[in-house]
Amino acid sequence: MWLPWVVMILASVTTPKPGQYVPLPGGTFASVIGADDKGAPAQIRPFKLRTEPVTNAEFLAFVMKNPQWRRDRVASVLADRQYLSQWASADKLGPGALPQQPVTRVSWFAAQAYCESENARLPSWYEWEYAAAADAHREDARQDPAWRDAVLNWYSRPSNTPLPTIGGEANIHGVRDMNGLVWEWVDDFNALLVSGDGREQDGADKLRFCGAGAANLEQKENYATLMRVAMLSAVKAADTTNNMGFRCARND
């Protein structure tokens, strides 16, 4: 009689409750992307971040409530053909998509709509990079070769192996699975490599970009993070990939 209770209590202790947000203090942060053409650090306001990426189970619940985001109904302009194709059907996960796995094959538009349903938004790149720079003991572990190796090692994982479930070790902010589980959408994914220096451009391209500053990449030794920037800059908002999921953020 008591065994189920023990199991339930143990389960509630060991598995993180999904959909929780924790506060992060923010502040001045040396991003791989300079805030201006002189490599100014980013200023990050205090914000709240979802402790784990959104799971298949959570995204299924969202799709049931918002049928315009079912894979058989979504507008082609908002999600490509691969959208949620790992699910057994438009309203069932099936063996190819475990409830506690992070949802992937979601477009930026779908991720944004999901976050709005939680009264949240997608994190900015700076917020994401800042939260991901922490390990269990330090807010900024990026100078530690062990941190860099761990992140890089994950990138060498073949993309056709099944995704682990959420619930990795929490970092010092109480946030899990920032590195080592999935790629994640950020709000300003399409703005990371906007080069503002129109003066360098010729002919028809001369006036394509407006503005004084330019996106400058800093910390060239931080390959792991630069790979994220490169990947995010290469996708379009309707694209989905096997390993791209997301989590949401809120203003503090």
């Binding site: 805030a35 201006d36 507008a75 302009v77 944004q112 709005e116 394509r208 407006c210 503005g211």
Partner: protein, 188 residues
């Protein structure tokens, strides 16, 4: 009785364009994006309300002194290549990257300053996440700099009556003849 008949007639007239729009939106229409815009007169409406007319669309911000005035100039110049009948069939929409500073009042003032005629011209703002979504859909890039200015790509986008992207141009500062030809064709 007459009043009633008039009312009936009026509601039929009002209903007519709605009925014409009953056809479902194509999947590749930008009007699939469920965002709302607020124009220079403070009216808020769904983006999909632009459906039914050919649109020339761009994104800008009114305090920009570098390329943005030329974006608006290029919109004007492209429109000026059309005959009078076509001019009346084309709507021009510029949505701000900068909802913080581009308030309804600021947009209204910019309409006057640049002599943009309503209702053919519309300047609009949206909440920040909707600005990002629209830019992502149109393929425009922008980021805010620490000094409050924006880096952004500049592009004119031609939409058909159902909101499908027919053509784009990155030529700013002069009329792109190939793009202008597409505009003419869309209004035929």
């Amino acid at each position: 009785m007459i009043k009633r008949l008039l009312f009936l007639l009026a509601s039929l007239l009002l209903a007519a364009p709605v009925l014409a729009d009953q056809k479902p939106l194509p999947g590749d229409s930008v009007y699939q994006l469920g965002i709302k815009l607020t124009d220079q007169d403070g009216h808020t409406w769904p983006l999909a309300e632009r459906r039914g007319r050919v649109q020339l669309v761009t994104m800008f911000y009114s305090s920009c002194t570098m390329v943005c005035p030329m974006i608006i100039d290029t919109m004007k110049a492209t429109r000026a290549t059309l005959d009078d009948a076509s001019k009346q069939k084309l709507d021009l929409l510029a949505v701000s990257f900068d909802p913080e500073r581009d308030t309804v009042d600021a947009l209204h003032a910019y309409m006057g300053k640049r002599k943009l005629d309503a209702p053919r011209w519309t300047l609009a703002r949206a909440k920040p996440q909707d600005v990002r979504a629209l830019s992502a859909l149109l393929g425009l890039q922008y980021r805010q700099l620490p000094d409050g200015e924006f880096n952004h790509s500049s592009e004119l986008i031609l939409l058909d009556a159902d909101g499908r992207i027919l053509a784009k141009t990155t030529v700013i500062g002069k009329v792109d003849p190939a793009f202008a030809a597409k505009v003419k064709e869309a209004l035929r």
